[in-house]
Symmetry: D2
Subunit: 465 residues, 4 copies
């Protein structure tokens, strides 16, 4: 996961991007970067760590110009080093500068990279973004948009992209629309963001999403839209396929929005896929309550991701919702754990139970998902030690059994507890009195257009492989 | 406000203090420090900023020994400089080292300091703590405890203190007990903390509070208790007075616990004054609902301090509680606001309304208190712009009309909006459709022993001046 | 200018490179970097500023392996940003990693880059090194050395290069040999360095120089030498030319060692071009004395670069040499000049005259060269204010009239004072009683093989353009 | 050793002090600090490390006012921590602020401190300066100068002091004048510095020294001088003594200037004790040559402290002086020595022999002194390995046999090689062919007034104990 943010036609682009990245910080804390353009030159500043620690006033001041793009990067298994920080800024034909900010994952980047290397390309990063830039630079024509289209036609995967050139900003989403990307406006200024909450911080208004397969070009003549994948006629729905570039797309392409954005990743004050995250998350909790009622004294959540679902569950089941776990907001990534014997206590420094409330009670704990199960086990142990009489764990999504290949950093199938263990075994491992998940149907009933969503991590039904 | 934490008889004192200070970080982000003792030498490390940024592994490693005290300092009007960071560490008679960590405010420190200066003392800080150390050093006898008693007898104000010497740790509270201080245990190890949630992080159990007027001495022979103010016989309740040191105490001294710890300051997972903060805060919300019902679509809170009261209000009034404002946890003190025209936007970078939920609705907003009114005004403006149809502000404490002299950093009476304006004027200034406060009686009914609490900031009834 | 250092077959390569870079720090203070190889993976760490500030113990520890290359970069007109720091590390065909460290300047890098960009290459830096890597990656065969030869055949300019691959280290010099590069040994370990003084710090012994046009390959089978330019048969000396790659080399290629290494750049304890810098520098001073005697009370120098020449001048003219100017070694690049009115005082913070010695005396000042003349003017003013009766400036090299295109950072011809002004005008501008330069012949007489040296910056006789 | 610098009556005091401290950086690299006064408030900023790393532009900007004092601290056996950094700033009677900067050592500070502690003083540092401030604060009258006199009358030792109050700056030297202190002027602005080279950097002119036993008071009415020790009538020269404060001074007090300032410590471009360091150092070399001639091929020095003496020696003995050892100016204190096996190589990273010059030659090496002998041994080993045929070590001062108690950081007598070993044993330990020291008489003959100097570290004749 990552967060991307672009602005066009403002007074001080870098200042606004700085603000916007703050709003997207939850999407990535590994590194942050901004490229700004004054119409002639693109300038880059990037660094490791939080937005707040990466930019000084002077840095922002040096990034002159009225347009720009920014990026916050999630820590993945990849290398944690400055070279991987985005945006990437390169120069190519005729010395033209191109900057890219990327959210997502390219499935065939290994192949593309291998082919490029055999053709003589060199790589300074391990990121998919560099592959895309190489492809664009190697395209035949002099027109950036044509080159872009011919290049992304080769890409297989989930990706939302932002490009900056000296005279234009370009935003696009893959044909499946795995990752979100929205358009905002303030006067004549145009904004692009992974989540709409970033618009709020810069006083912009959400207009619409960049559509799957759409390229949005913003330049002095305003906003232009191109679809690089033909929209799907209804009649051809199931059998045919459609070739873009190197590989076959199922035709008509099925929209495949990442439902995990609603479940866990996005801010509750954002719209993603033009639907309010808060409302969806609340509905997930309600549905979970309807499906998996249990008799207990109260509902609590694992803050903060489980909170809204827990409130929904409590409403539905008519139990009181309580803040049974308190989260310390000052931890960050810097806690040094000097005492080796206490390395295990990682969770306890972040979360603490309200013994007063919990002791002697029957508790329903709501969490958004279980991945490896180890963190859940620690949290449940903590609640148990706080004196809970019964603990019933309810998960506001189905069991995660399959890895995500479209931009969410999940472990391999082997490490996913739900792909190895039965429900009762997971229950025993985590140490709860009962454990239930939301059903796949239940989950899908909480969004407006269930067919538009990807459920691969739950169902194994991968839209593209 | 500040947070203090002490440990005695552990393997690596500084590691545990480091953990404990994390738990108390909400009580002060200006500076942090630790003094540890290996039985022979006391060593100090302190720095500006958060605990996480002040200590490296090496720093913790250098602070050797099995006992120690730590401090986090709140940013007050005073100087923001390293010299003011606590603990203070001094040497005095016979080269004996004494460290002090202080939470509170000494009313007569100016007088005491002037007198000390006239007697030839020099001051390197502006803190009350240095005054206390001077007084101790100037006391006549060779016995630290005697000197301590004769010195604190001169102090007027609210203070919880921690001392470390090479062979003992000493904790005490002023005779009124304004500020909290608790004792915890883990095996034979003893812990002292401003709030009990710090015990949870080091695996200790809450035993009891240090009592008002009590000095707790911890050394190799265990824990000893001395009362330096005679406990009050019931019969003498109203008329007499009792002299300790230089000034008269009302006799019997009335307990004067700071009720603001329950309303706002302490963590909800702490016990303070041996009462659960979470439960009190919930009751404040319920009482507020009982007193000031209003017809609306939902209850929201200003996160995080208003959250639990809002949940109580919602329960009492049977309205749904929603997370209408989302708080960004990544802001900290580092946001640089590069764009001058946006300096006003300080609140908007921290809080963002969930438009989806709020638009078109009648909203009850719960906050814990109103001080100057300016922040409330900005927050309400934000909710209004998000489309709320009606906004009813309910405050889970009475109007703050008087400054606190006992350790809470309030502005002068002039700056307190409730001491200048009528309810309807405040309502208009903040821009809400209705505004109500919890009554003084209502507030007091939420704690076990209402008579044990100080309400000076609401009532002007100062226990000591 | 830059400094490069390579090691092969040692226990902890990065530790030794760290040491070696210290010895080369005078060749570049802008940035520093190390790539080390453990036989499988190449790892890079680089940073802005001095070696001492770039690497922590942890950084060195992470750079595991028995071979590696390092680089210190000189601050040029180019961009001062982390992206430009060397070594560069890339992956290319079959994922092979290649690291490069570069000292010099490629004249036709613009053309080569343009051609590469048209072929679809993208550039993340402005450095010549990236051009070289692209060329290598685009070469047809699978063999690195073949690709390297076909690529460098296209390069026009002065360059000494170090490459690291997982199974070999490769060092080479351009066919003219503009920049120095030496080979050292310690047991079976092999070292490559810009200057031999770096060998002293790692306990290695100087063996010989990498020859102009030679590629030295170091791998598990030891050291192999290839000449990629055919050595010049004596008979063909003047007329013919010889084509390597894209452009014609004058045949036989004339050696073109940079004489400025002896005059100014290299450390006096180094051998460059297998000749002792100290001895050459001393001879320059002696020759200057022989050519431009003047009657005075003492000889002083501008420390430290003019010192040894001044000692030679003093010996030759039998005048006393005195340390008339004292240099402050603590200045670095960090002096902040807070007082604007004093910005001019940059020189005075670095150098200070010994008034005691200078006042009332006739002084000969020796400096190695005059570039713009502005610094000399300030220094002379300082000596004048210290009370010198007469000041005679003697320069231990001829007038610099032409820019260098082979790796020395000189300003444009316009900014070179000697290309605009007559000797007497320069004398007046700088404010000395007399000014003389060493003659071209005089200068060349100080080195063993005068015909092997490039004198373009003095004579305009560019070996290659 | 330390360096102190004061300014009075300038536009931006802190800027000028910043410059002045650069000039004094060789006197202390442990910490740096500045206190400035705007006539109402004194403000302090201090930090660990070099001046260049301690102050940002903002820091200098915050230190407002037209007067101020600064300090650089030498790393001694004492604590390396921020609390010990000077100046110290305190408030005392009536809230008056006093800042102190101190160069020297108080012999009886332990006693004074003990007495103060018994009287109830507390200490936050281990520095003598805090003792002095306490004594001043405890003096009876309201007049700072009277208090100062009565306080320093108790001090036994060598000290130069600078005080800043809001309305005056005060400079003084102990009655023996161990440590230097000079007065400079620029227009109506007055400057005080440990060494006169600091005046050069701020455009001030040296006027005269603060005299031993003199207090110089600078305020709006200009400069006033008070002698707090009665000047000595000639007739009473040997027998009587004179009591100031607590202890007897030998009467008449004998001047006891530290001759080590000339031998090693001060910059050669400074006057100390109103005599040019450069000239004295040259004379020491000449005298050494006259006393200890040896037949050899050249004279070299241990840079930089031995350089000028070596030049004198070469002149006297008519041998060529060569820069046989090159010093790396980029080392600083930051070299991390990652490779444990090479920890011994500390000297080799700083100094490197010019093999070219040294190999096969008979070398005279000049150094200023030998303390423990271990560093000399390493340097000589390095020269030996460079191929020197003979090495003759000549020291431009007598053997250091006794510790200094007046402000130079020498080891205990046990660790001084010359107090344990005979000349021939030292010679063998260091590994030279011959070793000679300058005689005591020879050394004294190099300064104008030999009787004014302290020679305790050579002779054991301590002026005061």
């Amino acid at each position: 996961m990552c967060g991307i943010f672009g602005v066009w036609g403002v007074k001080e682009a870098s200042s606004l991007i700085y603000r916007g990245l703050f709003a997207l910080q939850h999407r990535g804390q590994e590194s942050a970067g901004i490229v700004a353009s004054d119409g002639k030159t693109l300038r880059l500043h990037r660094g490791m760590g939080l937005v707040a620690n990466t930019f000084t006033k002077d840095d922002i001041g040096r990034l002159k110009g009225s347009s720009g793009i920014g990026h916050v990067r999630y820590s993945t298994a990849g290398l944690s080093r400055i070279e991987e920080a985005q945006p990437l800024l390169i120069s190519c034909s005729e010395g033209e500068q191109i900057a890219i900010a990327h959210n997502g994952n390219i499935l065939n980047s290994g192949n593309l990279k291998g082919r490029l290397e055999r053709e003589g390309s060199i790589f300074q990063t391990i990121s998919d973004s560099e592959v895309i830039l190489h492809r664009i630079a190697r395209a035949k024509t002099r027109d950036f948009i044509s080159n872009l289209i011919s290049s992304i036609s080769l890409l297989k995967g989930g990706y939302s992209l932002l490009f900056l050139l000296k005279d234009k900003m370009v935003a696009l989403r893959d044909p499946f629309g795995f990752r979100p990307l929205s358009i905002g406006k303030r006067g004549k200024s145009i904004f692009i963001a992974s989540e709409t909450s970033a618009f709020d911080l810069v006083g912009a208004k959400y207009i619409r999403d960049v559509e799957p397969g759409e390229i949005v070009i913003i330049d002095k003549s305003g906003l232009t839209s191109i679809f690089y994948v033909q929209p799907s006629p209804q009649e051809h729905l199931t059998t045919k396929s459609y070739l873009i570039g190197d590989y076959e797309l199922p035709y008509p392409i099925r929209k495949s929005y990442c439902i995990f954005e609603h479940i866990y990743f996005a801010r509750p004050d954002s719209l993603v896929f033009s639907e309010g995250v808060y409302s969806v998350r609340k509905m997930l909790g309600r549905k979970l309550g309807a499906e998996n009622r249990v008799s207990a004294d109260m509902v609590i959540s694992v803050p903060y991701s489980g909170t809204i679902a827990a409130m929904g569950y409590a409403e539905e089941t008519d139990m009181p919702y309580e803040l049974g776990l308190v989260r310390n907001n000052y931890i960050g990534r810097t806690f040094i754990n000097p005492e080796h014997s206490m390395r295990e206590a990682g969770v306890s420094i972040k979360l603490n139970p309200v013994v007063d409330i919990i002791a002697g009670k029957r508790i329903v704990v709501i969490d958004d998902s279980i991945v490896r199960g180890t963190t859940s086990r620690k949290i449940i142990g903590m609640i148990r030690r706080a004196g809970a009489k019964e603990i019933h764990l309810r998960i506001s999504s189905p069991p995660v059994r399959h890895p995500c290949y479209y931009g969410i950093d999940t472990p391999t199938e082997k490490e996913l507890i739900a792909s190895k263990k039965s429900l009762s075994n997971i229950r025993d491992f985590i140490g709860v009195d009962s454990l239930e998940y939301l059903s796949l149907e239940g989950m899908l009933s909480c969004v407006k257009n269930p067919r538009d969503y990807c459920t691969a991590c739950f169902s194994g039904d991968y839209p593209i492989l």
